[in-house]
């Protein structure tokens, strides 16, 4: 279990973390989600001991580690740009933590073999990091961090430098890995889809503060404020009301509670179609429909339709 209480961290005049309190349950997978500069990476580095907070307390499994150096915290850390030891083979990279701990040779051999199997790099054990793809390097980074049986696993935008397809693969794979090992895990990401996909609990950060902490579904359905609402998914704003594109209904006839709008563009995203609309007062909004719905309405660009929100949120 990770507890970070009332953490303050400043870099010169910039306040990266402004009185932040987070609790991560043992065995859970938590995502720190936010735009760049929101303080999410700094918070992760404070938990790892790579940054020293100006104020506040960090506890791991109930033990105050605020002034304990990273070497003795028992955390595994995975870096966005891999931080691979370039002059070492994959095998030596993974064995690094065990060698530092002076484990018996046979134990190191067995443990590294097991981890390389786990991350599917056994065949590439003798390669150097430069000879691996980005996805392979990051799997190596993960194996290296897991080798020392960390109490908590911290991942700083681990898939940020990878292309979209590999990202998704590794995301699914990370979740499966977590379901097997149940290591308490914190992942930093600016990608809301990644956070919602992989995490049990999402902490939304903005401007060095926490906006909301909730499971993905609750975050989506009951966002605490405007920022969370617009950050965790696409959103239309009509006056004070916020409406998700899939909560916009399109009708061919007006029915009293509808508003007139013109279809500007149809964007086909496989099964779903995004309909971009513009109202006569110039406000732009988008609706998310299925292909069948679009075909039934026979929507065409330039067509006039009538818009009705089926669900909307107003923050007071």
């Amino acid at each position: 279990m990770i507890e970070a209480g009332k953490i303050v961290k400043r870099f010169g005049d910039f306040t990266a973390l402004d009185d932040v309190t987070v609790e991560v349950e043992a065995g859970s997978l938590t995502a720190l989600l936010g735009p760049s500069g929101s303080g999410k990476s700094t918070l992760l580095r404070v938990i790892a001991g790579l940054e020293r907070p100006d104020a506040g307390v960090v506890r791991l499994d109930g033990v105050d580690v605020t002034s304990v150096p990273p070497q003795q915290r028992g955390v595994g850390f995975v870096f966005q740009h891999y931080a691979a030891f370039k002059h070492m083979t994959v095998w030596d990279n993974v064995a690094f933590g065990l060698r530092i701990r002076r484990r018996p040779r046979a134990e190191i051999k067995a443990r590294v073999a097991e981890l390389l199997d786990l991350v599917q790099l056994a065949r590439l054990a003798k390669r150097y990091p430069a000879q691996l793809s980005g996805g392979q390097r990051q799997r190596m980074g993960l194996a290296r961090a897991l080798a020392v049986d960390p109490k908590v696993l911290l991942l700083d935008e681990p898939f940020g430098a990878l292309d979209a397809r590999v990202r998704k693969e590794l995301r699914v794979w990370l979740r499966r890995l977590h379901d097997e090992t149940h290591t308490t895990t914190v992942i930093v990401t600016h990608d809301q889809e990644e956070a919602m996909d992989v995490a049990d609990q999402v902490v939304v950060m903005n401007g060095g503060r926490i906006e909301q902490t909730a499971p993905p579904r609750e975050l989506y359905d009951h966002p605490a404020n405007e920022f969370v609402m617009s950050f965790v998914g696409p959103v239309n704003q009509l006056g004070d009301a916020f409406i998700r594109p899939h909560d916009v209904e399109l009708l061919l006839e007006p029915n009293g509670s509808t508003q007139e709008a013109m279809v500007q563009r149809l964007v086909h995203l496989g099964f779903e179609v995004r309909v971009e609309l513009v109202r006569d007062d110039g406000e732009v909004l988008s609706a998310q429909l299925t292909r069948e719905q679009v075909e039934a309405l026979e929507l065409q660009p330039g067509q006039i339709v009538y818009v009705r929100p089926t669900r909307q949120t107003v923050f007071t």
């Binding site: 790579l50 070497q71 030891f85 002059h87 701990r101 290296r144």
Partner: protein, 258 residues
């Protein structure tokens, strides 16, 4: 295609005219009368003593400046301390300053009537060591700093989270990353230490058989119209430098995997 050959030709021509020709000429003049006259010229007691002095100078200056260079490089790149910018600039001073100025400065400081005068520094080996260290100081720092910057701190942070203490991190992560930069810096430092003339000349007092390094010996022989002696000693200097270069190239693996 023609352009490419023209560039190669120009580069080679430049090298030949400026480097190969003069050095080759020295070799040719040395061995014009065969190997043995040259051999006898560099095995006189004076020549051997000068060689010994030069090796002592390099033997102290090179290790000292290597250790200083690595520490200074780490300090400049990894730690923010007040005056870091000034420190970084001052390291380059020996490159900018004429060696004669360095020699005079040491003479004034340690000579008779100087602030630190009267300790057998000037006109003795310690002064020559100081002068050699001074002029060969920047090379390791200048090689190490850009490499340390490029490597960044993430690998070191990764080592820290994996339990490595400062020394283990240096030995297993930082050192392998910078060792070739250090090696190259050592070669440059060695070359400079061997070849230093001006500063050493001023502080040595040029007592033949006592405070004469090989470079000073070369000039001494030349002025005494002992051409073979001068050329042969020059060839010895060149051979030591070339050996250092070859050693480094031989030790360095053909293809560093990075």
């Amino acid at each position: 295609m023609i352009g490419r050959y023209a560039v190669r030709f120009a580069a080679l021509g430049y090298l030949t005219a400026l480097l190969a020709l003069p050095v080759g000429y020295v070799f040719w003049r040395t061995f014009r009368h065969g190997f043995w006259p040259a051999w006898h010229a560099v095995t006189t007691p004076e020549a051997l003593h000068a060689l010994k002095v030069t090796l002592i100078l390099a033997g102290i200056a090179v290790p000292a400046n290597t250790i200083f260079g690595v520490l200074a490089g780490l300090a400049i790149v990894r730690y923010r301390f007040p005056g870091a910018g000034v420190f970084n600039a001052v390291v380059d001073l020996p490159l900018a300053l004429s060696p004669v100025v360095v020699g005079l400065a040491l003479l004034l400081l340690y000579g008779r009537g100087g602030w630190l005068g009267g300790h057998h520094v000037v006109f003795a080996l310690p002064g020559m060591v100081l002068a050699t260290m001074f002029v060969s100081l920047p090379f390791v720092v200048r090689e190490v700093v850009p490499v340390l910057r490029e490597v960044g701190t993430e690998q070191e942070q990764a080592a820290a989270t994996l339990g490595a203490n400062a020394w283990q991190t240096f030995r297993r992560v930082t050192w392998p990353a910078i060792r070739w930069a250090i090696a190259y810096g050592v070669v440059l430092t060695t070359a400079r230490a061997l070849g230093e003339f001006g500063a050493v000349s001023v502080v040595s007092g040029r007592l033949e058989g006592q405070t004469e390094s090989l470079t000073l010996y070369v000039q001494d022989r030349y002025q005494a119209f002992d051409d073979v002696g001068a050329y042969a000693a020059a060839v010895v200097l060149a051979l030591i430098a070339v050996t250092t270069l070859i050693l480094m190239t031989a030790l360095k693996p053909k293809e560093e995997t990075r």
